[in-house]
């Protein structure tokens, strides 16, 4: 599904991700945990192709083995939109408001005519209802006047309409209340099917719902531990001290 080989990421010449190697398998749910500044969001942005994060590989540039491969396709040099088209979706930690860009318009542009505009509209409406966000929000420019919780729900809604295969949720549980967390989690479970989820989080509470197959712990730009759901419980009880 997603294969990361020897990934090193620099920002302004400083190394912030160091030698990441991991294979995310199809249909599984992964949790990535770690203290603040450990590189979790950087990993998400780098996978999506953010231009500020310079990707380099630890070994020689010539080697074919230093790559990010999504569904068998080498996306290492691809622009963000091409990665999206290859099947990746990123749910942002702090989704921005886009003045004048309406939700439907954005979804339509993102689908490149692969889904009928009316179908997009109907789906979005249905998902909004399930997530408990008002339909009126869909007719407005994206996230304009929306609360933190509504913004997170809007990310999840977009994920459902766009129908990608690898979904990265960067702290989708931060800044949402108990009820919102519940409806987001239920929604993600319902539409999981054979998708791969990567859930970046600080808290165990969302993992109670999503039940990850694997928990990855990141510290100082490295994956330092991989374990089962019990690892999240340990972290909740004991913190990250054991890993640093």
């Amino acid at each position: 599904m997603l294969k990361i080989n020897n990934l090193i990421v620099y920002i302004d010449g400083k190394t912030i991700l160091n030698d990441i190697n991991f294979i995310f398998e199809k249909g599984k749910t992964y949790a990535i945990m770690g203290p603040n500044g450990s590189g979790k969001s950087t990993l998400a942005y780098s996978l999506m192709g953010h231009p500020a994060y310079k990707i380099s590989n630890s070994k020689s540039q010539i080697s074919n083995d230093n790559t990010i491969v999504l569904n068998g396709e080498d996306i290492t040099a691809m622009e963000p939109h091409a990665r999206a088209q290859a099947g990746m979706f990123l749910s942002f930690q702090t989704p921005l408001a886009l003045s004048g860009v309406k939700v439907y318009q954005l979804l339509q542009l993102a689908m490149h005519g692969k889904k009928d505009p009316l179908k997009i509209r109907n789906e979005a409406k249905a998902y909004a209802k399930e997530l408990g966000i008002s339909e009126e929000l869909l007719n407005r420019p994206l996230n304009e006047g929306a609360s933190g919780g509504e913004r997170k729900k809007m990310e999840v809604l977009q994920a459902a309409v766009l129908g990608k295969s690898l979904l990265i949720f960067d702290e989708v549980d931060t800044g949402v209340d108990v009820d919102a967390l519940k409806s987001i989690s239920k929604f993600l479970i319902k539409y999981k099917k054979d998708k791969t989820y990567i859930v970046i989080t600080h808290y165990n509470r969302i993992l109670h719902y999503l039940k990850p197959d694997h928990v990855l712990v990141m510290v100082e730009g490295k994956i330092v531990k991989v374990g089962g759901p019990e690892l999240a419980k340990t972290i909740e009880d004991e913190g990250y001290e054991a890993f640093t």
Binding site: M48, H81, A84, V101
Partner: protein, 470 residues
């Protein structure tokens, strides 16, 4: 894929949908340059009454005396001696589409006049080479007493009304280009809406200039009587030229008590044109004037639609978009003059500059003593797309009354990298993401204009934006 700007330009020149030139086929062409005999000749050909000839001659003298504007972009390259001041395309006006000469019809077909007409036009007044050659007024409108015709016809058939209003709001001595227009005006629209009549569909005029070195000096006069309502739309597209051209129009609007006029402009002259236009409204008691002004084309535009709020409770609004690409200067703004109590004005200006283009917001708000309880709102937002481009704001407020509420906001922004990344992560390539943000920035204004115009406007902006890829 990488597309360079030059390649884009080449493509545009090869098949530029929104600016194309048809072969000239004019029946009459004055000599180049402006002299008194040219002014006399124009008036004679049009068989005008003596007072109009006198008006023209007086204006001609004022034009000679007046200085060029002391503010704004340089106009020193305008060569007044190298311009044709009158051109008449066909002998008579055609009143049916079928009667139009083939070339003119083709030109209109390419900008979709009949298409648009079929859909929701109330009447079409199409200007071609300085004279209105085609016009059809909806019969229903005529039944209600609405007059919608070209200025020359209005002068012949409704001389009393024209004489009462013409040049009273924008006198020839207002500025050099108003004087020039007053001396040599030709064509333009005349709209008269009787008391209480609400015109439901927008009245539209299509303007074109099609002769090289030809200046177009149309003159428009709109009178909305008490309690009436009308929306007038002018859309401009122009052929690509090799030499300079001048467009100096004058638009006078009278909004009577409780009346409402909305005047929408989509200006897309080709970039060798000087677009120097004077637009003004006299607004009566509880009247409401809206100027919606979109400037995409021209080399240099200087335009500051104004509303003189004379009646108590009168409202004025200017919503404008200015887009300046390579080599373009858009010096646009608004003027709001509060002369009566309880008047309100609102200016919303959105400008975009890229590839070294320059936009300026130049505005004047004046509240006279006694204009109590008036409100003023000014908001100007500038979007600058690259390091070479520039935007300036010149807001002037002359407030001579204490009992007023004033709000002024100004922002300058760049296309945010994070916003772009967000859109790109959703599957939009860079150019699409950029145009989505630019169109979003303009949306507060574009949502106010008729759908087909906003679609064309969005398409034009997208076309301009595509040039920035690479």
């Amino acid at each position: 894929m990488k597309v360079t700007r030059d390649k884009q330009k080449e493509d545009l020149n090869f098949d530029y949908k929104y600016g194309f030139s048809m072969p000239e086929k004019s029946f009459y062409k004055a000599k180049k340059g402006l002299r008194e005999d040219v002014v006399r000749m124009i008036s004679k050909i049009k068989k005008e009454p003596d007072w109009m000839l006198e008006f023209r001659l007086k204006a001609y003298k004022i034009f000679l005396e007046k200085n060029m504007p002391k503010f704004g972009p340089s106009l020193e390259n305008i060569d007044f001696d190298n311009i044709y001041y009158y051109l008449k395309p066909t002998e008579n006006q055609a009143d049916a589409w079928e009667d139009l000469p083939a070339e003119i019809k083709e030109t209109y077909d390419r900008i979709g006049v009949p298409e648009a007409e079929k859909k929701f036009l109330a009447g079409v007044s199409a200007q071609y080479e300085s004279e209105v050659v085609y016009e059809s007024v909806n019969k229903e409108l005529a039944k209600e007493g609405v007059i919608f015709c070209d200025m020359d016809t209005a002068l012949r058939e409704h001389e009393d009304i024209v004489k009462e209003y013409f040049g009273t709001l924008i006198p020839a001595h207002d500025n050099k280009f108003a004087a020039l227009n007053s001396a040599v005006w030709s064509g333009g629209s005349f709209v008269y809406v009787p008391k209480g009549v609400k015109v439901k569909l927008p009245l539209q005029a299509y303007f074109r200039i099609n002769a090289e070195r030809f200046g177009q000096f149309e003159r428009t006069l709109i009178i909305a009587e008490e309690g009436s309502d009308v929306h007038y739309v002018e859309g401009c597209t122009a052929p690509i030229y090799t030499s300079e051209s001048l467009h100096a129009a004058v638009v006078e609007i009278f909004v009577k008590k409780d009346a409402h006029v909305r005047y929408t402009t989509v200006q897309n002259w080709s970039t060798n044109i000087y677009n120097l236009v004077t637009k003004r409204t006299h607004c009566g008691e509880n009247g409401f004037m809206e100027w919606i002004d979109c400037n995409i084309g021209s080399g240099i535009t200087m335009k500051y639609p104004s509303v003189y709020l004379h009646g108590e409770g009168a409202r004025g609004e200017v919503l404008s978009i200015a887009f300046a690409g390579k080599g373009q200067i858009q010096d646009a703004g608004a003027k709001m003059m509060h002369f009566a109590p309880n008047t309100s004005s609102r200016i919303v200006s959105k400008s975009i500059s890229k590839d070294g283009g320059r936009t300026s917001y130049r505005g004047l708000v004046q509240v006279s003593p006694g204009a109590k309880n008036s409100t003023v709102f000014v908001s100007c937002d500038a979007l600058i797309l690259d390091e070479e481009s520039r935007s300036d704001t010149y807001p002037t407020m002359k407030i001579k009354e204490n009992d007023v509420e004033i709000q002024h906001e100004a922002t300058v922004e760049k296309l945010g990298d994070e916003k772009l990344f967000y859109l790109r992560s959703r599957g939009l390539n860079r150019a699409d993401a950029e145009s989505a943000l630019v169109l979003g920035f303009m949306e507060p204004v574009t949502k106010k204009i008729p759908l087909e115009y906003s679609i064309e406007l969005n398409r034009l902006i997208k076309l301009e934006m595509e040039g920035s890829v690479g």
